[in-house]
């Protein structure tokens, strides 16, 4: 790779480069920002991501394969990059006042946030298993730290430690999977794997084992049952602003890797893998939704909800081996991720608004009577809950609709039925939150922070408006098909 | 496998060991004499002519000393530690060229134990990185708090300065375009690298002082605080081994510095008379060793926190800057004739 070649490569991943350099610079600049003015760091972090977002949006049609095929920039990666950067910016908005309230203001918080966003962006463009591994680490390590940033509060430390141990364990499994795939095909590049399979030089048994390892390792990251054990504890213990971002970013990045790897490199293995995906998706939806019913703590409830949602996203992947459905698979998964991101941010901003003191105001009872004193918060939370349930005309409904449609196209009506039934089950606990807010008496306490309100109402409005005019969004997601 | 080659290797290895050990013996003598002169004394002058047999007398004395092993010490490691300290010091010079290729009994023989290997510098960094163990194990196995403190301090110190040391190697590597020490010496045919690398030499010299635990960086043995540091509990020949390791390391780092920055075995008429190589190298090593002794006689010991702060906050950034400058200049002016 000569110099001009390298600069062309760097240009293709310019948004990523901007975020990484910005993070490094912010680390230094933050030293000169006094403790009382850490809001400036937050602002700077948001500006960096905004700049990167603008670059990405300005060249949405960019398609390039650079760094010797290790990086593929295409519609898929552009879609996800926008999603990650948007989530990052919203996360800064959610964090700013929360951190101040909890006395957690550290400049490194935003730096780590930028780094984890850059890891996710790298994941979106990764088309080599080595890069996938590095992206996974780059997005996970800052999250481990962020989960424990409320140290010495014990459950934050517990959350960080659990996330770290299980996360490293799952990363280890991913590496093992990569090693097996390499052993089977002699390459780590996704394109090279496809070539090896078509040429018939790949050891298929080993390859299936490797793919299964990858699925397990990444399944940990996105919290598929039975690899979900860590989720409730980690989500509950981590500071809420971190959890909000973790629930969206880490999940989307994990699915980015799963979608890219399986659809691009492993369609030939679908005979072996589709039944596995089928069972995983069914288990995840059932367990996530059923256990969520028992939860009284809103953070745990949302944690189980995020598990259940991972199941719905996985639904899109089940028919991935059928070449005529694969495009719809990607489109509906991406669309669902987007819907999930909007819905989660709406819900989490309300949760953060109600959590005045760390760990307090998180029980369902604390939401009783919210509609009287804070009608806007109650309304946004209601929209989020309806979207999670999948009630039209919200974005969540369309997300589920497209996923189920893909599933029917692929010929899995049984699984679609399970999906619908579990959605009905989920209505019970989602709507219970609404019932508490509107029909119970209570004295809820919430803070009034403009950024939080903007984030909450804006994403709630998006949920409804985009839900009504969803066509362009889905068209965009469909364009994002991998090549 | 050529039998003559094996014999050649064995002879060279034995020669290297002999050189190191005699070098150690006479370095102690050299240091005492030089220190004495710097302090306006005379120094050892009783044993033999000009006191030249003093090292022998010291050796005999140490052999007859009683060897103590503390009761609660970890015996195996306690005995092993001095050996582990001395071996890296003795083998580090294996890749060093003492001269070019000479013709002896009809054989072409290169004056270096390992010959011309393309990873000479990596070998040196590898050996320096394991040379920490002996000291830290000695400190731990003695079951003595002063020894343990000394061991831990020395580990921290050596790890910290190893970074600057490693970066110091990079300048000559970049200039010569090879990691082979022979290549680096050949690269200095025109001009010694000390001219192109003034900053690099400075960093390298300071880091080596710390690496061999010499004054003013002799923290692990700071008498006032730690009695004798990691070798507090050692006596007799085991003590002598630590002593030997330190002095052999001094010789080794001086020889390495001479090779990297001061033209190695090269000097006038070297191409006509290859046997001059070892002599030139010896002269350069002697001068560098004198520098180390001079520093010891002049500078007081640093405080421990000063030492660490200096290593991390000044030396390492300066070393990085040097690498950056060197690489930048080589990139921008490829035809500099370097």
């Amino acid at each position: 790779m000569n110099l001009s070649n390298a600069s062309a490569s760097l240009n293709a991943i310019l948004p990523l480069v901007v975020v990484i350099l910005w993070a490094c610079a912010l680390l230094l600049v933050d030293l000169f920002i006094t403790k009382e003015r850490k809001g400036l760091t937050a602002l700077l972090a948001a500006i960096g991501m905004l700049a990167s977002l603008i670059i990405t949006l300005a060249r949405l049609d960019l398609e390039a394969v650079v760094f010797n095929g290790m990086v593929t920039v295409d519609g898929f990666s552009n879609f996800l990059t926008v999603l990650f950067l948007g989530s990052g910016i919203v996360a800064v908005a959610l964090s700013y006042d929360y951190l101040k309230r909890m006395g957690l203001e550290k400049g490194e918080y935003y730096v780590l946030l930028l780094f984890t966003v850059s890891g996710m962006m790298l994941m979106a463009v990764a088309s080599d298993l080595i890069v996938v591994f590095l992206a996974l680490e780059l997005l996970s390590i800052p999250l481990y730290v962020l989960a424990g940033i409320a140290t010495p509060r014990l459950d934050s430390e517990e959350s960080s430690l659990k996330y770290f141990l299980l996360g490293s364990f799952s990363t280890g499994i991913v590496v093992y999977g990569i090693a097996l795939v390499f052993g089977a095909t002699g390459t780590t590049s996704l394109a090279g794997i496809v070539d090896a399979i078509t040429a018939g030089s790949a050891g298929m048994g080993l390859l299936v084992a490797g793919a299964a390892m990858l699925l397990i390792g990444l399944g940990f990251k996105v919290a598929l049952v039975p690899f979900h054990m860590w989720t409730p504890d980690v989500y509950q213990g981590a500071p809420s602003s971190v959890t909000a971002f973790m629930a969206i970013g880490a999940k989307a990045a994990g699915f980015a890797a799963i979608l890219r790897i399986f659809i691009q490199a492993f369609p030939a293995l679908s005979v072996d893998l589709t039944p596995v995906l089928w069972v995983l998706a069914a288990l995840t939806m059932i367990l996530g939704n059923v256990v969520a019913i028992a939860q009284r703590n809103i953070k745990r409830l949302l944690a189980y909800s995020s598990i259940a949602n991972a199941g719905y996203i996985l639904l899109a992947l089940v028919p991935y081996g059928q070449s005529d459905v694969a495009a719809d698979s990607v489109a509906s998964a991406l669309f669902y991720l987007l819907a999930y991101a909007f819905t989660s941010f709406t819900a989490w901003s309300v949760v953060i608004a109600l959590e005045q003191v760390e760990g307090k105001g998180l029980e369902l009872e604390d939401y009783a009577g919210l509609s009287r004193r804070y009608p806007i918060l109650a309304l946004t939370m209601t929209v989020a809950m309806l979207s999670f349930t999948g009630v039209p005309p919200t974005l969540g409904f369309l997300g589920k609709f497209y996923v189920f449609r893909t599933l029917l196209e692929g010929g899995f009506p049984g699984l679609a039925v399970i999906g619908v039934v579990t959605s009905l089950i989920s209505a019970y606990y989602y709507l219970r939150v609404v019932v508490y807010m509107y029909m119970r008496e209570g004295e809820p306490q919430a803070i009034r922070d403009p950024w939080l309100y903007i984030a909450a109402t804006a994403s709630a409005i998006c949920l409804v408006v985009l839900g009504i005019f969803s066509q362009p969004l889905f068209a965009w997601a469909s364009q994002a098909m991998l090549h | 496998m050529d039998a003559a080659l094996i014999i050649e290797w064995i002879i060279k290895s034995i020669l290297l060991l002999v050189i190191c050990i005699t070098g150690f013996a006479y370095l102690t003598f050299y240091e005492r004499k030089a220190l004495a002169r710097l302090q306006v004394r005379i120094g050892p002058n009783r044993a033999g002519p000009f006191g030249l047999l003093q090292p022998v007398a010291d050796g005999i004395k140490l052999i007859f000393k009683e060897e103590l092993i503390p009761e609660k010490a970890d015996r195996l490691i306690f005995v092993l530690a001095p050996v582990v300290t001395v071996v890296p010091a003795l083998v580090v010079l294996a890749v060093l060229p003492f001269g070019g290729v000479v013709n002896l009994f009809g054989r072409e023989i290169s004056l270096s134990v390992a010959g011309d290997v393309n990873i000479g510098i990596l070998y040196i960094t590898a050996i320096t990185s394991i040379s920490v163990y002996g000291i830290v194990l000695a400190g731990w196995s003695s079951n003595n708090k002063y020894a343990a403190m000394g061991g831990i301090r020395s580990t921290a110190q050596m790890i910290s300065y190893e970074l600057a040391l490693g970066l110091g190697f990079i300048g000559p590597i970049l200039l010569a375009g090879t990691m082979s020490l022979n290549g680096i010496v050949e690269g200095q045919r025109g001009m010694w690298y000390v001219v192109y690398q003034p900053l690099g030499v400075l960093v390298f010299m300071i880091a080596t002082l710390a690496e061999v635990n010499r004054a003013p960086f002799d923290m692990p043995e700071a008498e006032q605080e730690l009695t004798a540091g990691y070798h507090t509990e050692y006596s007799g020949m085991k003590f002598a081994l630590f002593f030997m390791a330190e002095y052999v390391k001094m010789i080794a780092v001086s020889a390495i510095a001479a090779t990297l920055f001061f033209g190695g075995y090269r000097g006038p008429f070297i191409d006509q008379v290859p046997w001059l190589g070892p002599i030139y190298l010896l002269i350069k090593v002697m001068i560098l060793l004198f520098g180390m002794i001079w520093v010891r006689a002049t500078l007081p010991r640093l405080r421990y926190d000063q030492l660490m702060a200096f290593g991390w906050k000044i030396l390492l950034p300066v070393a990085l800057l040097n690498v950056l400058l060197t690489a930048g200049v080589i990139m921008l002016f490829p035809g500099l004739g370097v």
Partner: protein
């Protein structure tokens, strides 16, 4: 060839013995030392394979830098004496069975190569020279190389953020 094989057998025995020693040492320091020995003998194996760069990197990084930190931490914490950890009653039999299965599968795979694994081809002798390694790292693997440096930076920031004691000002 014969000296190579003799050397290989000796080194392999040392490597295996030190690995076993590491597992069974009661004293954490001895475990660490065994591990160092293991790394070093593996490094010499690389040397026999004609990969001096990897060998010396192995010594510098693993046997040198990383294990020194291990020893350092063990000594600072005074954690030499391992407490007997609680074992589950079924742990031992299960582990023995699993190990036996692993051994059988490994031998089977080695002898019959059922998964289509070919014997490793002899690499170009120049393959592991420092120049060739650098060529690989800075051309083909440029991106992973750079990302790794970012990764290390992040890990360092993380460790400092988590361990540095700072007074939290909680507003109650």
């Amino acid at each position: 060839m014969i000296p190579d094989i003799v050397l290989f057998i000796i080194l392999a025995l040392v490597a295996v013995a030190s690995a076993v020693g590491m597992l069974f040492s009661k004293n954490a320091i001895y475990s660490a030392l065994n591990l160092i020995l293991n790394f070093s003998s593996v490094a010499v194996l690389y040397l026999i394979l004609g990969a001096p760069f990897i060998a010396l990197a192995q010594v510098t990084v693993y046997a040198g830098a990383i294990m020194v930190l291990f020893l350092f931490v063990i000594m600072l914490l005074g954690a030499e004496r391992l407490r007997r950890s609680e074992t589950l009653p079924y742990q031992q039999p299960v582990s023995i069975i699993l190990a036996a299965i692993l051994a059988v599968v490994a031998i089977y795979a080695l002898l019959f190569r059922p998964l289509g694994i070919e014997a490793a081809s002899v690499a170009n002798p120049d393959f592991s020279s420092p120049a060739a390694m650098a060529e690989m790292l800075f051309n083909e693997y440029l991106l992973p190389f750079e990302v790794t440096s970012i990764l290390l930076l992040v890990a360092m920031i993380g460790a400092i953020v988590l361990t540095r004691k700072r007074q939290r000002r909680v507003q109650r």
